[in-house]
Subunit: 328 residues, 2 copies
Protein backbone atom coordinates (compact mmCIF):
# COMPACT_ATOMS: atom_id res chain seq x y z
CA UNK A 1 0.00 0.00 0.00
CA UNK A 2 3.11 2.18 0.03
CA UNK A 3 2.30 5.01 -2.32
CA UNK A 4 4.67 5.50 -5.22
CA UNK A 5 6.57 8.72 -4.84
CA UNK A 6 8.71 10.87 -7.03
CA UNK A 7 11.82 9.48 -5.38
CA UNK A 8 10.84 5.97 -6.41
CA UNK A 9 10.53 7.09 -9.98
CA UNK A 10 13.90 8.82 -9.78
CA UNK A 11 15.58 5.71 -8.47
CA UNK A 12 14.08 3.47 -11.07
CA UNK A 13 15.02 5.89 -13.85
CA UNK A 14 18.47 6.48 -12.44
CA UNK A 15 18.10 10.21 -12.24
CA UNK A 16 17.68 12.71 -9.47
CA UNK A 17 14.20 13.58 -8.19
CA UNK A 18 14.60 17.02 -9.68
CA UNK A 19 14.75 15.55 -13.14
CA UNK A 20 11.45 13.80 -12.56
CA UNK A 21 9.90 17.15 -11.73
CA UNK A 22 11.49 18.66 -14.79
CA UNK A 23 9.89 16.18 -17.12
CA UNK A 24 6.50 16.19 -15.43
CA UNK A 25 6.28 19.96 -15.45
CA UNK A 26 8.26 20.45 -18.60
CA UNK A 27 10.11 23.07 -16.63
CA UNK A 28 13.66 22.37 -17.63
CA UNK A 29 15.45 20.85 -20.54
CA UNK A 30 16.07 17.14 -20.07
CA UNK A 31 17.92 14.89 -22.49
CA UNK A 32 15.72 12.61 -24.51
CA UNK A 33 17.41 9.62 -22.96
CA UNK A 34 16.62 10.57 -19.37
CA UNK A 35 13.20 11.84 -20.26
CA UNK A 36 12.30 8.48 -21.73
CA UNK A 37 13.69 6.70 -18.71
CA UNK A 38 11.56 8.85 -16.42
CA UNK A 39 8.47 8.41 -18.54
CA UNK A 40 8.71 4.67 -18.57
CA UNK A 41 9.47 4.52 -14.87
CA UNK A 42 6.31 6.53 -14.26
CA UNK A 43 4.39 4.16 -16.45
CA UNK A 44 5.75 1.02 -14.84
CA UNK A 45 5.33 2.22 -11.30
CA UNK A 46 1.90 3.69 -11.90
CA UNK A 47 3.13 6.90 -10.38
CA UNK A 48 0.92 9.96 -10.18
CA UNK A 49 2.13 13.19 -8.67
CA UNK A 50 0.90 14.29 -5.28
CA UNK A 51 -0.89 17.46 -6.13
CA UNK A 52 -1.24 18.48 -2.50
CA UNK A 53 2.52 18.48 -2.07
CA UNK A 54 2.80 20.57 -5.17
CA UNK A 55 0.11 22.97 -3.99
CA UNK A 56 1.80 23.28 -0.69
CA UNK A 57 5.02 24.25 -2.33
CA UNK A 58 3.68 26.46 -5.07
CA UNK A 59 0.79 28.01 -3.11
CA UNK A 60 -1.58 27.28 -5.91
CA UNK A 61 -4.42 24.87 -5.38
CA UNK A 62 -6.22 25.16 -8.72
CA UNK A 63 -9.33 25.24 -6.59
CA UNK A 64 -12.20 27.62 -7.27
CA UNK A 65 -15.14 27.76 -4.91
CA UNK A 66 -18.67 29.08 -5.20
CA UNK A 67 -20.75 30.15 -2.25
CA UNK A 68 -24.46 30.08 -2.93
CA UNK A 69 -27.55 31.01 -0.97
CA UNK A 70 -29.40 28.07 -2.29
CA UNK A 71 -27.75 25.07 -3.79
CA UNK A 72 -31.23 23.89 -4.78
CA UNK A 73 -31.87 26.87 -7.00
CA UNK A 74 -32.18 25.53 -10.52
CA UNK A 75 -30.64 28.65 -11.97
CA UNK A 76 -27.57 28.20 -9.85
CA UNK A 77 -27.27 24.66 -11.13
CA UNK A 78 -27.07 25.90 -14.70
CA UNK A 79 -24.52 28.51 -13.77
CA UNK A 80 -22.37 25.90 -12.05
CA UNK A 81 -22.47 23.82 -15.20
CA UNK A 82 -20.78 26.52 -17.27
CA UNK A 83 -18.46 27.50 -14.45
CA UNK A 84 -17.18 23.96 -14.19
CA UNK A 85 -16.62 23.73 -17.91
CA UNK A 86 -14.62 26.92 -18.07
CA UNK A 87 -12.73 26.19 -14.85
CA UNK A 88 -11.74 22.79 -16.19
CA UNK A 89 -10.51 24.25 -19.44
CA UNK A 90 -8.17 26.41 -17.38
CA UNK A 91 -6.97 23.55 -15.21
CA UNK A 92 -9.08 24.36 -12.16
CA UNK A 93 -11.70 22.46 -10.25
CA UNK A 94 -14.84 23.76 -8.65
CA UNK A 95 -16.30 23.24 -5.20
CA UNK A 96 -19.64 24.25 -3.75
CA UNK A 97 -20.36 25.91 -0.44
CA UNK A 98 -23.51 27.07 1.28
CA UNK A 99 -23.72 30.58 2.66
CA UNK A 100 -22.79 29.57 6.18
CA UNK A 101 -21.15 32.19 8.32
CA UNK A 102 -17.92 30.21 8.51
CA UNK A 103 -17.63 29.53 4.79
CA UNK A 104 -15.31 32.49 4.05
CA UNK A 105 -12.96 31.52 6.85
CA UNK A 106 -13.02 27.91 5.70
CA UNK A 107 -12.13 28.89 2.15
CA UNK A 108 -9.23 30.93 3.44
CA UNK A 109 -7.98 27.85 5.27
CA UNK A 110 -8.36 25.79 2.14
CA UNK A 111 -6.22 28.29 0.27
CA UNK A 112 -8.58 28.39 -2.66
CA UNK A 113 -7.35 30.29 -5.69
CA UNK A 114 -10.59 32.17 -6.05
CA UNK A 115 -14.13 32.39 -4.77
CA UNK A 116 -17.29 33.43 -6.46
CA UNK A 117 -19.82 34.81 -4.02
CA UNK A 118 -23.30 34.24 -5.33
CA UNK A 119 -25.11 35.24 -2.20
CA UNK A 120 -27.09 38.14 -0.79
CA UNK A 121 -26.85 36.95 2.78
CA UNK A 122 -23.35 38.05 3.77
CA UNK A 123 -22.59 41.43 5.20
CA UNK A 124 -19.52 43.38 4.19
CA UNK A 125 -17.50 42.09 7.14
CA UNK A 126 -18.02 38.49 6.14
CA UNK A 127 -17.14 39.22 2.56
CA UNK A 128 -14.09 41.22 3.54
CA UNK A 129 -12.71 38.22 5.40
CA UNK A 130 -11.79 36.81 2.03
CA UNK A 131 -10.10 39.99 0.87
CA UNK A 132 -8.05 40.15 4.06
CA UNK A 133 -6.98 36.56 3.58
CA UNK A 134 -5.74 37.52 0.14
CA UNK A 135 -8.25 35.32 -1.67
CA UNK A 136 -9.32 36.64 -5.08
CA UNK A 137 -13.04 37.17 -4.75
CA UNK A 138 -15.80 38.15 -7.13
CA UNK A 139 -19.21 39.07 -5.81
CA UNK A 140 -22.42 38.95 -7.82
CA UNK A 141 -25.63 40.22 -6.29
CA UNK A 142 -28.02 43.15 -6.37
CA UNK A 143 -27.04 44.58 -2.99
CA UNK A 144 -25.32 47.90 -2.52
CA UNK A 145 -22.66 47.81 0.21
CA UNK A 146 -21.15 50.88 1.74
CA UNK A 147 -18.05 49.34 3.26
CA UNK A 148 -16.79 46.68 0.94
CA UNK A 149 -13.06 46.08 0.78
CA UNK A 150 -11.85 47.46 -2.55
CA UNK A 151 -10.16 44.16 -3.25
CA UNK A 152 -13.59 42.57 -3.62
CA UNK A 153 -14.54 42.69 -7.27
CA UNK A 154 -18.17 43.10 -8.26
CA UNK A 155 -19.62 41.53 -11.37
CA UNK A 156 -23.20 42.70 -11.53
CA UNK A 157 -25.97 41.94 -13.93
CA UNK A 158 -28.21 44.75 -15.08
CA UNK A 159 -30.42 44.23 -12.04
CA UNK A 160 -31.88 47.69 -11.87
CA UNK A 161 -32.79 48.26 -15.48
CA UNK A 162 -33.99 44.75 -16.16
CA UNK A 163 -36.33 44.80 -13.20
CA UNK A 164 -37.50 48.29 -14.07
CA UNK A 165 -38.18 47.26 -17.67
CA UNK A 166 -40.06 44.14 -16.67
CA UNK A 167 -42.17 46.14 -14.25
CA UNK A 168 -42.89 48.72 -16.92
CA UNK A 169 -43.89 45.95 -19.26
CA UNK A 170 -46.50 44.80 -16.78
CA UNK A 171 -47.70 48.32 -16.10
CA UNK A 172 -48.15 48.91 -19.80
CA UNK A 173 -50.32 45.81 -19.92
CA UNK A 174 -52.57 47.48 -17.38
CA UNK A 175 -51.38 45.86 -14.16
CA UNK A 176 -51.64 48.08 -11.12
CA UNK A 177 -51.01 45.66 -8.29
CA UNK A 178 -47.74 43.97 -9.06
CA UNK A 179 -46.27 41.77 -6.38
CA UNK A 180 -42.54 41.42 -5.93
CA UNK A 181 -40.95 38.22 -4.63
CA UNK A 182 -37.35 38.73 -3.75
CA UNK A 183 -34.51 36.37 -3.06
CA UNK A 184 -32.61 39.02 -1.10
CA UNK A 185 -33.93 40.29 2.22
CA UNK A 186 -36.04 43.42 1.98
CA UNK A 187 -36.64 45.21 5.21
CA UNK A 188 -37.92 48.49 3.96
CA UNK A 189 -38.76 50.31 0.83
CA UNK A 190 -35.42 52.06 1.01
CA UNK A 191 -33.40 48.93 1.11
CA UNK A 192 -30.31 49.30 -1.04
CA UNK A 193 -31.16 46.62 -3.51
CA UNK A 194 -30.79 47.48 -7.16
CA UNK A 195 -33.29 44.94 -8.28
CA UNK A 196 -35.92 46.11 -5.86
CA UNK A 197 -35.17 49.71 -6.77
CA UNK A 198 -35.82 48.87 -10.39
CA UNK A 199 -39.25 47.67 -9.38
CA UNK A 200 -40.11 50.62 -7.14
CA UNK A 201 -38.74 53.11 -9.58
CA UNK A 202 -40.93 51.82 -12.42
CA UNK A 203 -43.93 51.96 -10.14
CA UNK A 204 -43.22 55.55 -9.16
CA UNK A 205 -42.47 56.66 -12.68
CA UNK A 206 -45.98 55.59 -13.50
CA UNK A 207 -47.59 57.21 -10.53
CA UNK A 208 -48.17 53.89 -8.83
CA UNK A 209 -47.70 53.32 -5.13
CA UNK A 210 -45.29 50.78 -3.67
CA UNK A 211 -47.35 48.54 -1.45
CA UNK A 212 -45.17 46.65 0.98
CA UNK A 213 -47.87 44.03 1.52
CA UNK A 214 -47.21 43.01 -2.08
CA UNK A 215 -43.53 42.57 -1.36
CA UNK A 216 -42.03 39.50 0.22
CA UNK A 217 -38.73 37.71 0.27
CA UNK A 218 -37.07 34.40 0.93
CA UNK A 219 -37.10 34.15 4.72
CA UNK A 220 -36.92 30.48 5.56
CA UNK A 221 -37.39 28.43 2.46
CA UNK A 222 -39.03 28.40 -0.92
CA UNK A 223 -42.34 26.71 -0.05
CA UNK A 224 -42.78 29.32 2.66
CA UNK A 225 -42.31 32.17 0.22
CA UNK A 226 -44.65 30.55 -2.27
CA UNK A 227 -47.42 30.19 0.28
CA UNK A 228 -46.99 33.80 1.30
CA UNK A 229 -47.30 34.77 -2.32
CA UNK A 230 -50.45 32.73 -2.78
CA UNK A 231 -51.86 34.32 0.37
CA UNK A 232 -51.49 37.77 -1.17
CA UNK A 233 -54.29 36.85 -3.53
CA UNK A 234 -56.80 36.91 -0.73
CA UNK A 235 -56.26 40.40 0.62
CA UNK A 236 -57.46 43.72 -0.72
CA UNK A 237 -55.17 45.12 -3.35
CA UNK A 238 -54.64 41.58 -4.51
CA UNK A 239 -52.00 41.37 -7.21
CA UNK A 240 -52.70 40.58 -10.84
CA UNK A 241 -49.03 39.99 -11.55
CA UNK A 242 -45.96 38.64 -9.82
CA UNK A 243 -42.34 39.43 -10.48
CA UNK A 244 -40.03 36.87 -8.93
CA UNK A 245 -36.35 37.19 -8.14
CA UNK A 246 -35.64 33.92 -9.87
CA UNK A 247 -37.26 31.24 -12.00
CA UNK A 248 -37.36 28.73 -9.16
CA UNK A 249 -39.83 30.96 -7.38
CA UNK A 250 -41.74 31.84 -10.54
CA UNK A 251 -42.27 28.28 -11.74
CA UNK A 252 -43.35 26.97 -8.36
CA UNK A 253 -45.74 29.85 -7.97
CA UNK A 254 -47.18 29.20 -11.43
CA UNK A 255 -47.71 25.57 -10.53
CA UNK A 256 -49.50 26.45 -7.32
CA UNK A 257 -51.68 29.04 -8.98
CA UNK A 258 -52.66 26.66 -11.75
CA UNK A 259 -53.53 24.01 -9.20
CA UNK A 260 -55.99 26.49 -7.69
CA UNK A 261 -57.59 27.04 -11.05
CA UNK A 262 -55.84 30.25 -12.02
CA UNK A 263 -55.28 30.82 -15.71
CA UNK A 264 -51.90 32.27 -16.55
CA UNK A 265 -51.48 34.90 -17.88
CA UNK A 266 -55.20 35.64 -18.19
CA UNK A 267 -55.96 35.77 -14.50
CA UNK A 268 -52.47 36.35 -13.24
CA UNK A 269 -49.14 37.13 -14.89
CA UNK A 270 -45.85 35.72 -13.67
CA UNK A 271 -42.33 36.81 -14.52
CA UNK A 272 -39.16 35.07 -13.44
CA UNK A 273 -35.44 35.71 -13.70
CA UNK A 274 -32.56 33.49 -14.79
CA UNK A 275 -34.02 31.77 -17.82
CA UNK A 276 -33.64 28.21 -16.60
CA UNK A 277 -34.18 25.56 -19.21
CA UNK A 278 -37.36 24.14 -17.74
CA UNK A 279 -39.05 27.55 -17.92
CA UNK A 280 -39.64 27.10 -21.61
CA UNK A 281 -41.20 23.67 -21.15
CA UNK A 282 -43.87 24.86 -18.77
CA UNK A 283 -47.29 25.79 -20.08
CA UNK A 284 -47.40 28.70 -20.38
CA UNK A 285 -43.71 29.19 -21.12
CA UNK A 286 -42.09 31.51 -18.62
CA UNK A 287 -41.33 35.15 -19.33
CA UNK A 288 -37.98 35.79 -17.72
CA UNK A 289 -34.57 37.44 -17.83
CA UNK A 290 -31.64 35.74 -19.48
CA UNK A 291 -28.48 36.37 -17.48
CA UNK A 292 -26.32 34.89 -20.18
CA UNK A 293 -24.50 32.42 -18.02
CA UNK A 294 -21.56 31.76 -20.28
CA UNK A 295 -20.74 35.42 -20.34
CA UNK A 296 -21.19 35.71 -16.59
CA UNK A 297 -19.10 32.65 -15.79
CA UNK A 298 -16.38 33.63 -18.22
CA UNK A 299 -16.20 37.13 -16.78
CA UNK A 300 -16.09 35.91 -13.20
CA UNK A 301 -13.30 33.47 -13.90
CA UNK A 302 -11.30 35.99 -15.89
CA UNK A 303 -11.57 38.47 -13.05
CA UNK A 304 -10.56 35.86 -10.51
CA UNK A 305 -7.43 35.09 -12.51
CA UNK A 306 -6.66 38.74 -13.13
CA UNK A 307 -6.86 39.50 -9.43
CA UNK A 308 -4.65 36.59 -8.59
CA UNK A 309 -2.04 37.79 -11.03
CA UNK A 310 -2.14 41.30 -9.65
CA UNK A 311 -3.78 42.91 -12.65
CA UNK A 312 -6.15 45.76 -12.10
CA UNK A 313 -9.79 44.71 -12.30
CA UNK A 314 -12.79 46.99 -12.62
CA UNK A 315 -16.28 46.32 -11.38
CA UNK A 316 -18.63 45.62 -14.25
CA UNK A 317 -22.32 45.26 -14.89
CA UNK A 318 -23.19 42.72 -17.55
CA UNK A 319 -25.92 43.04 -20.14
CA UNK A 320 -28.94 40.84 -19.77
CA UNK A 321 -31.72 39.94 -22.14
CA UNK A 322 -35.45 40.15 -21.47
CA UNK A 323 -37.25 37.09 -22.75
CA UNK A 324 -40.93 37.53 -23.39
CA UNK A 325 -42.79 34.26 -23.60
CA UNK A 326 -46.31 33.41 -22.51
CA UNK A 327 -46.61 33.78 -18.77
CA UNK A 328 -46.85 37.57 -18.84
Amino acid sequence: MAVVTRTDVAKKANVSPAVVSYVINNSNYVSKEKRDAVLSAIEELGYYPNFIAKSFKTKKTNHLAIISDDLQNEYFNELVYVMEKIAYSKGYYLSLFSNRAESPRLLANYQVDGVFLFTTKFNADQINTLAKAGIPTVLCNSIEYSDLDPRINKVSLEFFSSMRDMTNYLINKGHKNIAYLSTAPITSENEKNYRFQGYTSALRDNGLQVKMKLVDYYKTDLPDLISHAVAMLKGRDNPTAFIAGNDSIALRLMGCLQKRGCKIPNDISVIGAGNIQLGQYFSPALTTINYRNSNLAQTVINHLFDIREGRNVENVSLDVELIFRESA
Copy 2:
Protein backbone atom coordinates in the same frame (compact mmCIF):
# COMPACT_ATOMS: atom_id res chain seq x y z
CA MET B 1 1.46 40.68 2.16
CA ALA B 2 3.57 38.23 4.14
CA VAL B 3 1.12 35.58 5.26
CA VAL B 4 0.90 34.97 8.98
CA THR B 5 2.24 31.57 9.84
CA ARG B 6 2.13 29.30 12.82
CA THR B 7 5.65 30.32 13.73
CA ASP B 8 4.59 33.95 13.96
CA VAL B 9 1.85 33.00 16.36
CA ALA B 10 4.29 30.94 18.41
CA LYS B 11 6.73 33.82 18.68
CA LYS B 12 4.09 36.30 19.68
CA ALA B 13 2.69 33.92 22.28
CA ASN B 14 6.12 32.92 23.54
CA VAL B 15 5.60 29.23 22.98
CA SER B 16 6.91 26.66 20.55
CA PRO B 17 5.13 26.09 17.25
CA ALA B 18 4.08 22.69 18.50
CA VAL B 19 2.01 24.29 21.23
CA VAL B 20 0.15 26.33 18.65
CA SER B 21 -0.78 23.13 16.86
CA TYR B 22 -1.81 21.59 20.16
CA VAL B 23 -4.30 24.30 20.91
CA ILE B 24 -5.67 24.56 17.37
CA ASN B 25 -6.22 20.86 17.11
CA ASN B 26 -6.92 20.28 20.75
CA SER B 27 -4.51 17.42 20.41
CA ASN B 28 -2.50 17.81 23.58
CA TYR B 29 -2.99 19.27 26.98
CA VAL B 30 -1.84 22.88 27.19
CA SER B 31 -1.89 25.02 30.32
CA LYS B 32 -4.64 27.60 30.41
CA GLU B 33 -2.05 30.34 30.50
CA LYS B 34 -0.30 29.32 27.30
CA ARG B 35 -3.54 28.43 25.61
CA ASP B 36 -4.85 31.92 26.21
CA ALA B 37 -1.62 33.44 24.99
CA VAL B 38 -1.87 31.42 21.77
CA LEU B 39 -5.52 32.23 21.28
CA SER B 40 -4.99 35.94 21.62
CA ALA B 41 -1.92 35.86 19.39
CA ILE B 42 -4.05 34.14 16.72
CA GLU B 43 -6.69 36.79 17.17
CA GLU B 44 -4.29 39.72 17.00
CA LEU B 45 -2.36 38.41 14.05
CA GLY B 46 -5.46 37.31 12.17
CA TYR B 47 -3.83 33.93 11.74
CA TYR B 48 -5.61 31.10 10.01
CA PRO B 49 -4.06 27.70 9.56
CA ASN B 50 -2.81 26.59 6.17
CA PHE B 51 -5.01 23.64 5.51
CA ILE B 52 -2.95 22.53 2.53
CA ALA B 53 0.13 22.16 4.71
CA LYS B 54 -1.95 20.16 7.13
CA SER B 55 -3.38 17.99 4.37
CA PHE B 56 0.04 17.40 3.02
CA LYS B 57 1.25 16.19 6.36
CA THR B 58 -1.81 14.21 7.44
CA LYS B 59 -2.78 12.86 4.02
CA LYS B 60 -6.32 13.94 4.53
CA THR B 61 -7.84 16.58 2.32
CA ASN B 62 -11.43 16.59 3.61
CA HIS B 63 -12.30 16.72 -0.04
CA LEU B 64 -15.11 14.67 -1.52
CA ALA B 65 -15.74 14.73 -5.25
CA ILE B 66 -18.68 13.77 -7.43
CA ILE B 67 -18.37 12.81 -11.03
CA SER B 68 -21.55 13.27 -12.99
CA ASP B 69 -22.64 12.56 -16.53
CA ASP B 70 -24.61 15.72 -16.67
CA LEU B 71 -24.09 18.61 -14.34
CA GLN B 72 -27.21 20.15 -15.86
CA ASN B 73 -29.45 17.33 -14.75
CA GLU B 74 -31.88 18.84 -12.26
CA TYR B 75 -32.00 15.64 -10.28
CA PHE B 76 -28.27 15.70 -9.82
CA ASN B 77 -28.56 19.24 -8.53
CA GLU B 78 -30.90 18.13 -5.77
CA LEU B 79 -28.65 15.24 -4.88
CA VAL B 80 -25.66 17.56 -4.65
CA TYR B 81 -27.62 19.74 -2.29
CA VAL B 82 -28.00 16.99 0.28
CA MET B 83 -24.50 15.67 -0.33
CA GLU B 84 -23.04 19.06 0.48
CA LYS B 85 -25.08 19.37 3.63
CA ILE B 86 -24.02 16.01 4.96
CA ALA B 87 -20.42 16.43 3.85
CA TYR B 88 -20.25 19.76 5.61
CA SER B 89 -21.62 18.31 8.81
CA LYS B 90 -18.73 15.86 8.76
CA GLY B 91 -16.13 18.52 8.02
CA TYR B 92 -15.75 17.79 4.31
CA TYR B 93 -16.24 19.88 1.23
CA LEU B 94 -17.61 18.83 -2.10
CA SER B 95 -16.36 19.36 -5.62
CA LEU B 96 -17.96 18.63 -8.97
CA PHE B 97 -16.47 16.92 -11.97
CA SER B 98 -17.75 16.01 -15.40
CA ASN B 99 -17.35 12.49 -16.69
CA ARG B 100 -14.21 13.28 -18.65
CA ALA B 101 -11.83 10.42 -19.27
CA GLU B 102 -9.11 12.08 -17.20
CA SER B 103 -11.30 12.85 -14.19
CA PRO B 104 -10.37 9.71 -12.22
CA ARG B 105 -6.67 10.35 -12.70
CA LEU B 106 -7.13 13.99 -11.75
CA LEU B 107 -8.92 13.06 -8.56
CA ALA B 108 -6.13 10.70 -7.67
CA ASN B 109 -3.66 13.58 -8.09
CA TYR B 110 -5.83 15.77 -5.92
CA GLN B 111 -5.73 13.14 -3.20
CA VAL B 112 -9.45 13.39 -2.58
CA ASP B 113 -10.74 11.50 0.42
CA GLY B 114 -13.56 9.96 -1.54
CA VAL B 115 -15.34 10.03 -4.85
CA PHE B 116 -18.92 9.37 -5.72
CA LEU B 117 -19.31 8.14 -9.27
CA PHE B 118 -22.70 9.09 -10.59
CA THR B 119 -22.06 8.15 -14.16
CA THR B 120 -22.87 5.42 -16.64
CA LYS B 121 -20.19 6.45 -19.10
CA PHE B 122 -17.05 4.98 -17.56
CA ASN B 123 -15.87 1.49 -18.25
CA ALA B 124 -14.46 -0.71 -15.52
CA ASP B 125 -10.87 0.28 -16.33
CA GLN B 126 -11.56 3.93 -15.79
CA ILE B 127 -13.37 3.25 -12.56
CA ASN B 128 -10.66 0.93 -11.34
CA THR B 129 -8.11 3.71 -11.70
CA LEU B 130 -9.53 5.14 -8.52
CA ALA B 131 -9.35 1.87 -6.65
CA LYS B 132 -5.74 1.39 -7.68
CA ALA B 133 -4.91 4.87 -6.48
CA GLY B 134 -6.37 3.93 -3.12
CA ILE B 135 -9.22 6.43 -3.35
CA PRO B 136 -12.41 5.34 -1.59
CA THR B 137 -15.01 5.16 -4.32
CA VAL B 138 -18.72 4.55 -4.41
CA LEU B 139 -20.46 3.92 -7.68
CA CYS B 140 -24.16 4.41 -8.32
CA ASN B 141 -25.65 3.41 -11.63
CA SER B 142 -27.76 0.75 -13.28
CA ILE B 143 -24.93 -0.90 -15.19
CA GLU B 144 -23.66 -4.37 -14.54
CA TYR B 145 -19.88 -4.66 -14.79
CA SER B 146 -18.04 -7.91 -15.04
CA ASP B 147 -14.59 -6.76 -14.05
CA LEU B 148 -14.93 -4.13 -11.40
CA ASP B 149 -12.20 -3.89 -8.78
CA PRO B 150 -13.65 -5.27 -5.54
CA ARG B 151 -12.55 -2.11 -3.77
CA ILE B 152 -15.18 -0.19 -5.72
CA ASN B 153 -18.33 -0.09 -3.63
CA LYS B 154 -21.72 -0.11 -5.32
CA VAL B 155 -24.70 1.71 -3.91
CA SER B 156 -27.58 0.92 -6.20
CA LEU B 157 -31.14 2.04 -6.23
CA GLU B 158 -33.85 -0.49 -6.96
CA PHE B 159 -33.41 0.12 -10.66
CA PHE B 160 -34.72 -3.17 -11.90
CA SER B 161 -37.86 -3.52 -9.82
CA SER B 162 -38.86 0.13 -9.98
CA MET B 163 -38.62 0.18 -13.76
CA ARG B 164 -40.42 -3.13 -14.02
CA ASP B 165 -43.19 -1.92 -11.74
CA MET B 166 -43.64 1.33 -13.61
CA THR B 167 -43.78 -0.54 -16.90
CA ASN B 168 -46.34 -2.94 -15.48
CA TYR B 169 -48.37 0.01 -14.28
CA LEU B 170 -48.54 1.32 -17.83
CA ILE B 171 -49.31 -2.09 -19.27
CA ASN B 172 -52.16 -2.49 -16.82
CA LYS B 173 -53.54 0.80 -18.04
CA GLY B 174 -53.70 -0.73 -21.51
CA HIS B 175 -50.53 0.65 -23.06
CA LYS B 176 -48.91 -1.63 -25.60
CA ASN B 177 -46.31 0.60 -27.19
CA ILE B 178 -44.25 1.96 -24.39
CA ALA B 179 -41.14 3.92 -25.32
CA TYR B 180 -38.06 3.87 -23.18
CA LEU B 181 -35.71 6.86 -22.97
CA SER B 182 -32.51 5.96 -21.24
CA THR B 183 -29.70 8.00 -19.78
CA ALA B 184 -27.27 5.11 -20.08
CA PRO B 185 -26.15 3.85 -23.49
CA ILE B 186 -28.18 0.96 -24.82
CA THR B 187 -26.62 -0.87 -27.67
CA SER B 188 -28.73 -3.95 -27.73
CA GLU B 189 -31.61 -5.59 -26.03
CA ASN B 190 -29.21 -7.65 -24.01
CA GLU B 191 -27.30 -4.73 -22.62
CA LYS B 192 -26.51 -5.34 -18.99
CA ASN B 193 -28.51 -2.49 -17.62
CA TYR B 194 -30.77 -3.26 -14.68
CA ARG B 195 -33.12 -0.44 -15.43
CA PHE B 196 -33.55 -1.45 -19.03
CA GLN B 197 -33.97 -5.05 -17.98
CA GLY B 198 -36.77 -4.01 -15.67
CA TYR B 199 -38.51 -2.53 -18.66
CA THR B 200 -37.97 -5.45 -21.01
CA SER B 201 -38.80 -7.98 -18.35
CA ALA B 202 -42.19 -6.37 -17.64
CA LEU B 203 -42.91 -6.31 -21.34
CA ARG B 204 -42.07 -9.98 -21.75
CA ASP B 205 -43.97 -11.03 -18.65
CA ASN B 206 -47.02 -9.58 -20.33
CA GLY B 207 -46.40 -11.15 -23.69
CA LEU B 208 -45.35 -7.85 -25.22
CA GLN B 209 -42.52 -7.46 -27.64
CA VAL B 210 -39.50 -5.25 -27.02
CA LYS B 211 -39.32 -2.89 -29.97
CA MET B 212 -35.91 -1.32 -30.29
CA LYS B 213 -37.31 1.54 -32.35
CA LEU B 214 -39.11 2.60 -29.21
CA VAL B 215 -35.86 2.66 -27.28
CA ASP B 216 -33.42 5.51 -27.34
CA TYR B 217 -30.75 6.97 -25.13
CA TYR B 218 -28.76 10.06 -24.38
CA LYS B 219 -26.24 10.18 -27.21
CA THR B 220 -25.16 13.78 -27.57
CA ASP B 221 -27.39 15.99 -25.50
CA LEU B 222 -30.85 16.30 -24.07
CA PRO B 223 -32.55 18.27 -26.86
CA ASP B 224 -31.32 15.63 -29.26
CA LEU B 225 -32.88 12.84 -27.25
CA ILE B 226 -36.12 14.77 -26.89
CA SER B 227 -36.43 15.31 -30.60
CA HIS B 228 -35.80 11.64 -31.24
CA ALA B 229 -38.54 10.84 -28.78
CA VAL B 230 -40.98 13.18 -30.45
CA ALA B 231 -40.09 11.63 -33.79
CA MET B 232 -41.18 8.21 -32.53
CA LEU B 233 -44.72 9.49 -32.58
CA LYS B 234 -44.73 9.59 -36.34
CA GLY B 235 -43.77 6.00 -37.10
CA ARG B 236 -45.84 2.89 -37.06
CA ASP B 237 -46.05 1.36 -33.61
CA ASN B 238 -46.10 4.87 -32.26
CA PRO B 239 -45.93 4.91 -28.46
CA THR B 240 -48.78 5.90 -26.20
CA ALA B 241 -46.47 6.14 -23.23
CA PHE B 242 -42.90 7.11 -22.45
CA ILE B 243 -40.74 6.01 -19.58
CA ALA B 244 -37.74 8.27 -19.10
CA GLY B 245 -34.52 7.58 -17.25
CA ASN B 246 -34.83 10.83 -15.36
CA ASP B 247 -37.18 13.71 -14.75
CA SER B 248 -35.14 16.12 -16.84
CA ILE B 249 -36.00 14.07 -19.89
CA ALA B 250 -39.61 13.50 -18.85
CA LEU B 251 -40.43 17.13 -18.16
CA ARG B 252 -38.86 18.42 -21.34
CA LEU B 253 -40.66 15.79 -23.34
CA MET B 254 -43.96 16.69 -21.71
CA GLY B 255 -43.41 20.33 -22.55
CA CYS B 256 -42.68 19.50 -26.18
CA LEU B 257 -45.66 17.20 -26.49
CA GLN B 258 -48.00 19.77 -24.99
CA LYS B 259 -46.69 22.38 -27.36
CA ARG B 260 -47.74 20.11 -30.21
CA GLY B 261 -51.23 19.86 -28.77
CA CYS B 262 -50.89 16.53 -27.01
CA LYS B 263 -52.96 16.04 -23.90
CA ILE B 264 -51.16 14.30 -21.10
CA PRO B 265 -52.01 11.71 -19.94
CA ASN B 266 -55.04 11.33 -22.18
CA ASP B 267 -53.15 11.16 -25.46
CA ILE B 268 -49.79 10.17 -24.09
CA SER B 269 -48.50 9.13 -20.70
CA VAL B 270 -45.10 10.16 -19.37
CA ILE B 271 -43.16 8.76 -16.43
CA GLY B 272 -39.93 10.16 -15.08
CA ALA B 273 -37.40 9.15 -12.44
CA GLY B 274 -35.78 11.12 -9.65
CA ASN B 275 -38.71 13.08 -8.28
CA ILE B 276 -37.26 16.52 -8.80
CA GLN B 277 -39.15 19.32 -7.11
CA LEU B 278 -40.40 20.98 -10.27
CA GLY B 279 -42.10 17.78 -11.38
CA GLN B 280 -44.95 18.41 -9.00
CA TYR B 281 -45.45 21.96 -10.25
CA PHE B 282 -45.96 20.95 -13.85
CA SER B 283 -49.45 20.40 -15.17
CA PRO B 284 -50.03 17.54 -15.14
CA ALA B 285 -47.84 16.72 -12.15
CA LEU B 286 -45.20 14.17 -13.02
CA THR B 287 -45.45 10.50 -12.13
CA THR B 288 -41.98 9.46 -11.13
CA ILE B 289 -39.69 7.50 -8.84
CA ASN B 290 -38.43 8.97 -5.60
CA TYR B 291 -34.83 7.94 -5.03
CA ARG B 292 -34.88 9.32 -1.51
CA ASN B 293 -31.84 11.51 -1.85
CA SER B 294 -31.11 11.97 1.84
CA ASN B 295 -30.90 8.25 2.29
CA LEU B 296 -28.76 7.87 -0.83
CA ALA B 297 -26.38 10.67 0.09
CA GLN B 298 -26.06 9.51 3.66
CA THR B 299 -25.33 5.96 2.57
CA VAL B 300 -22.76 7.03 0.02
CA ILE B 301 -20.91 9.22 2.48
CA ASN B 302 -21.00 6.59 5.20
CA HIS B 303 -19.56 4.04 2.80
CA LEU B 304 -16.87 6.43 1.69
CA PHE B 305 -15.81 6.98 5.28
CA ASP B 306 -16.01 3.30 6.12
CA ILE B 307 -13.77 2.43 3.20
CA ARG B 308 -11.29 5.08 4.17
CA GLU B 309 -11.11 3.72 7.68
CA GLY B 310 -10.60 0.20 6.45
CA ARG B 311 -13.97 -1.13 7.52
CA ASN B 312 -15.65 -3.77 5.46
CA VAL B 313 -18.36 -2.36 3.22
CA GLU B 314 -21.02 -4.32 1.37
CA ASN B 315 -22.71 -3.36 -1.85
CA VAL B 316 -26.29 -2.33 -1.23
CA SER B 317 -29.42 -1.58 -3.20
CA LEU B 318 -31.58 1.13 -1.70
CA ASP B 319 -35.35 1.18 -1.58
CA VAL B 320 -37.11 3.65 -3.78
CA GLU B 321 -40.68 4.91 -3.83
CA LEU B 322 -43.01 5.03 -6.81
CA ILE B 323 -44.90 8.29 -6.94
CA PHE B 324 -48.10 8.24 -8.92
CA ARG B 325 -49.30 11.67 -9.88
CA GLU B 326 -51.10 12.81 -12.98
CA SER B 327 -48.85 12.36 -16.00
CA ALA B 328 -49.45 8.62 -16.25
